[in-house]
Homo-oligomer: 662 residues x 2
């Protein structure tokens, strides 16, 4: 399509159809956001019809360009585009916008509808995920095949996206890394929910992104030739590009254009009729797609089929390349054969911090898993996340050690983008307490069923002197409460190895590995329960030596105290069992019989210990049990003193157990 062709009436017809379909869908649902789809229509049209390499018949084709609608509230836009360009989304789906069970959910949901690359809605997430997608593309291009993976990531985003801090973090990193395969199309419409952006957002966005090292273009949002030329230049610039399009929310709605009334509610019957009139359409007809528009936009289908065909021919000719063959294997969802064979076993007496054992696990996995990619939010030496002997990810050169900088939130979102890249498994570290900074991204991973691995070290007051700002308390509970998040807090080096196995094996959701700063004794597995029990979330680590009277439950660094307390109690003739409970989610996934076997209902005398908030522990201790945990924040002091002060000792556990039995 040349810029002369933009004057063809079918082009305007198509753009108007995108606008009115979107407005109709919102009106029908009596809920949603009509204004942004309307303003974005010319950009979306140019993108889908000319610049985006995509095949509507196969939205998952690995060589396609990626598209992210970061302003997910404009979901009607993407649904209209998918329908018009020939994806598996019917006019009826559009009519069922925002209804129960429909493909066309309120915000675009990954896995729910073909052609939606990632779930968006929470502002800032899409633009940051796109950075990860662009990095993923670069990784495949540089480590598998440059021709096959020269795809680009395109984003449509809004003021809200660029106000959110996560987007600032991600953009700074994208500029640093010179991600030339990343282009944002920013709808600069000057309107937010509270009114004009002049109320809160008067910075010079272009100058800011220039400072990040981006390429900037400014265009008028209705000028197709201008937008087209800018997109062309963006594709040819080695930097990530920000195309700032001055757009008009609700354009064409005579009374609502350029006002926040066009943002988050249907236009209303009268205004929608007037809008249709303004576009020269029948004011009463709904969901109209002129035949010439259908014919014109169906061009995407033939175009896309050709694009993919060429790519499939390319890859067919390259299957003998080991890099391509390896990638094809992992891209299909398989783990590489022998991925876990190099994982070590630690001997009793080998007292490691679980973060150290985790570092060893990573470096035992990495050689077998070339698509395992690490990183940290500037804490690699503390998180033990470095893959030794592998490259840092530098500007223009991908690597397996990503320096995310002190940007936890962007790290979380970028990991999601890497997860969207077939074959890649990203892990990354920060201090457990700072998981809060990336929590919105962790939630998105859980919601989408993506499976990044979080290496969260310094997991309790056991980190010591850094004090309460750095000591996680409520973090275990707050992650356990999140659906589809698997939290694992291993008790020793060998449980840590098992935890890594579980994390790698879980490809249906994120896993949080919660690890100590301080050294922990390695349990004698000849004498006590087999470490494979970790895979079931909870297991009998030490059985009662006499008839069961007391169950001691613990996770992580507190398991050692349960073991010592058991010895004392058992010496007093009290039949005491220790249950190691590293993962509530894995334990809950077991059948009732197994859970009863580990925690028999008949034994109601139970003491749990965990150096975190007690919140939620009632589930395992029951009405008659006691939990030893934190009821407030920590303090700054050497770790040993803190543990004593807050009662995380074998002596205290023993005393509490005795009292409970008395």
């Amino acid at each position: 399509m040349s810029s002369q062709q933009f004057s063809d009436p079918v082009v305007r017809q198509s753009i108007d159809t995108i606008r009115l379909l979107s407005a109709d869908a919102v009106e029908q649902a009596n809920s949603g956001h009509p204004g942004t789809p309307m303003e974005a229509a010319p950009i979306a049209y140019l993108l889908y019809m000319k610049h985006l390499r995509h095949n509507p018949a196969n939205p998952d084709w690995a060589g396609r360009d990626r598209f992210v609608l970061s302003c997910g509230h404009a979901s009607a836009l993407i649904y209209s585009m998918l329908h018009l360009t020939g994806y598996d989304l019917s006019l009826d789906d559009l009519k069922n916008f925002r209804q129960f069970g429909s493909k066309t959910a309120g915000h675009p949901e990954f896995g729910h509808v073909p052609g939606v690359e990632t779930t968006t809605g929470p502002l800032g997430q899409g633009v940051a995920v796109a950075v990860g997608m662009a990095m993923g593309g670069q990784y495949l291009a540089q480590n598998v095949d440059a021709e096959l993976f020269d795809y680009r990531t395109w984003v449509i985003c809004s003021d809200g996206d660029l106000m959110e801090g996560v987007s600032a973090e991600a953009a700074s990193l994208a500029g640093h890394l010179r991600l030339g395969n990343l282009n944002y199309l920013y709808l600069d419409n000057k309107i937010t929910i509270e009114g004009d952006t002049s109320l809160a957002f008067t910075e010079d966005v272009g100058a800011r992104y220039l400072a990040y090292g981006w390429h900037i273009e400014r265009v008028e949002g209705e000028n197709l030739a201008e937008i087209d030329a800018a997109m062309e230049r963006a594709k040819n610039d080695p930097r990530p590009s920000l195309i700032i399009a001055r757009t008009h929310i609700g354009i064409g709605a005579p009374n609502k254009q350029d006002t926040h009334d066009a943002h988050g509610a249907p236009l209303g019957t009268d205004e929608l009729a007037l809008t249709k009139q303004a576009y020269g359409r029948d004011p009463q007809a709904t969901f109209v797609v002129p035949a010439e528009v259908t014919a014109h936009m169906a061009g995407c289908v033939t175009n896309g089929a050709e694009l993919e065909k060429a790519w499939q021919q390319q890859i067919a000719g390259k299957k003998s390349s080991p890099a391509v063959a390896n990638w094809l294997n992992v891209a299909s969802g398989e783990l590489p054969a022998g991925w876990d064979t190099a994982l070590p076993t630690f001997a009793t007496g080998d007292n490691k911090a679980t973060r150290q054992a985790s570092g060893i696990a990573i470096n035992a996995l990495a050689p077998q898993m070339p698509f395992l990619i690490g990183g940290s939010a500037d804490l690699a030496p503390s998180n033990n996340t470095e893959i030794k002997g592998e490259n840092d990810w530098l500007p223009g050169r991908s690597g397996r050690n990503i320096h995310y900088g002190i940007r936890e939130h962007a790290m979380g979102s970028i990991m999601n983008g890497l997860c969207h890249t077939p074959g890649l498994i990203p892990f990354a570290g920060t201090f457990f307490v700072f998981a809060d900074y990336m929590r919105p991204a962790m939630r998105m991973a859980a919601l989408m069923g993506l499976a990044p691995i979080y290496v969260l070290t310094h997991d309790s007051i056991g980190l010591g002197e850094d004090g309460p700002t750095h000591q996680p308390i409520e973090h275990l509970a707050s992650l356990r409460a999140m659906p589809n998040m698997t939290v694992i807090r291993p008790a020793d080096a060998n449980e840590t190895i098992e935890a890594w196995k579980a994390a790698i094996s879980n490809r249906q959701g994120p896993t949080a590995l919660v690890l100590t700063r301080q050294g922990l004794p390695t349990v004698d597995r000849d004498q006590f329960g087999a470490v494979a029990g970790l895979q079931k979330g909870g297991y009998v680590l030490a059985a009662e030596a006499t008839a069961l009277q007391m169950i001691l439950i613990a996770s992580g660094s507190e398991v050692q105290h349960a073991m010592t307390a058991r010895e004392t109690l058992q010496a007093e003739g009290i039949g005491t069992r220790v249950v190691s409970l590293p993962s509530w989610e894995l334990f809950e996934a077991q059948d009732a019989a197994y859970r009863e076997q580990v925690l028999p209902a008949a034994c109601t005398k139970r003491v749990a210990m965990e150096a975190g908030a007690t919140f939620g522990w009632e589930r395992y201790i029951g009405d008659a049990g006691v939990v030893i945990g934190m009821s407030g924040f920590g303090a700054s002091a050497p770790a040993g003193e803190l543990m004593k002060h807050f009662g995380f000792t074998a002596e205290n556990m023993t005393a509490v157990a005795r009292e409970l039995l008395a």
Copy 2:
């Protein structure tokens, strides 16, 4: 102090003393961060000795300048400064750095030591809190007295602070609002934990802040005259200022300067001795403060006393001003007389969403509480947070409606800064699901015992069509798990009024008001339990009509279903009680007798219902109870359909109760 005087040997002596005291403290603790205090010493010296208006004898003097050490890991710096300039912090306190119970915690903690204005450590928080402090100063200057409150907020910050997204959000808003009373001193040392900033942070920070509307200065970190002149210009510039100081981490340590080895660990005995030698000091002597340094820096004490004296004379002459008199009253911690007298009572049949009732409460409180300041992260019309008839906060003009923009994290941190301003009570709104974005700031409020009020609307799947990205599930549990956070989810309009009373009355920690989008029936209080019961967190809303067999527990929008289920069960002759449980924290604060009265242990048949994660509910339902809640994420559909689909109906609660009794 003129710039000629900078050549006086005592100046260099003082700066070196700051450096070496800090390094000694870290060495003694065998834990901490020596390098940043060393590089920042000249800046800190100039700040405390010349530019900061402070009185060491009265660190809480309301007219003082504020100082925030945003890079809280450099805590040894502030402790050295406080000691040397005459605050209540002894050399022994320095020697006890990072020890249990000492004033000198690992990171500076508010309320723990005089002269620490806010707790820092989690990067980005300090710079963002400082924006709130500057706004607080502006508010007092414009609404109480311009002379009395012309104070400035000074910040020392690091790369990490400026990489975090929260700082980007806060800086954009500060530039927009033209906070000329805010100055950052940025230690541009080119080093992070993973190595050189060139690994991850190559943006042009100065150009970025210029794009935000800030005034930029660039200085060499050892050039006192240059720094001094830049600080002078910063004070005179109407924009917020960023002074970029090229500094050298661990300066003077012959083998560790300019390396990350100087960052997070003691220099080590040998290197510290070599460092002292390099500064011309006795390599073996520790914690040395030369007498001339003591004498010189004690100038702060006399200076500070004079500054405050002049201010106290000023305010004494203004006590007849009603604005000053009102402020003095609230600044002492009192709530204004009659603050709650205009709060309404809603009649049965008046079905309001609790967010609507909250908006009414706000507008009933606002006229009596001129220091109650509102705002929203661009959702005021949805959060019902607008104080009607009051000014928006615009560039250069403070107001009671703050447009935070789509910047939840900065909003949370700025609210903390406003809380640090004597008399101010900030509240602000966002969707409940986006509380995740500001969670790190909420935690800081809880840790510091600050008392902002969060207005969190759209509190469950009951928000409907926006779908799972916008539907909170785990958020109730995750906030309840946080120490010192009070969560209140009222069941109707009148409980909402009580919730506001509780929030305003709680000045010891943050309160989260969790409110519905959808309308809820107003309970008939003539017939059922008095609404004042909310103040106890949980109360008997409907007593059993016959001998107690079943307790139905609910919060918020699910209480209505418990009430209907009770009617049905009671009609079947089953003695059923309804307990409204809007706040676990308030309920836990009651004595055991009260709790037993509401939830008698003898009645083990209990069904709870809450449209959120079931996590934690075992506490109230006990071993024999059932909780109806969410086990996964929500969906996009009209609210009524979702509620039915997920089982939040009276019918379902009735059925579950019957089954439990069977």
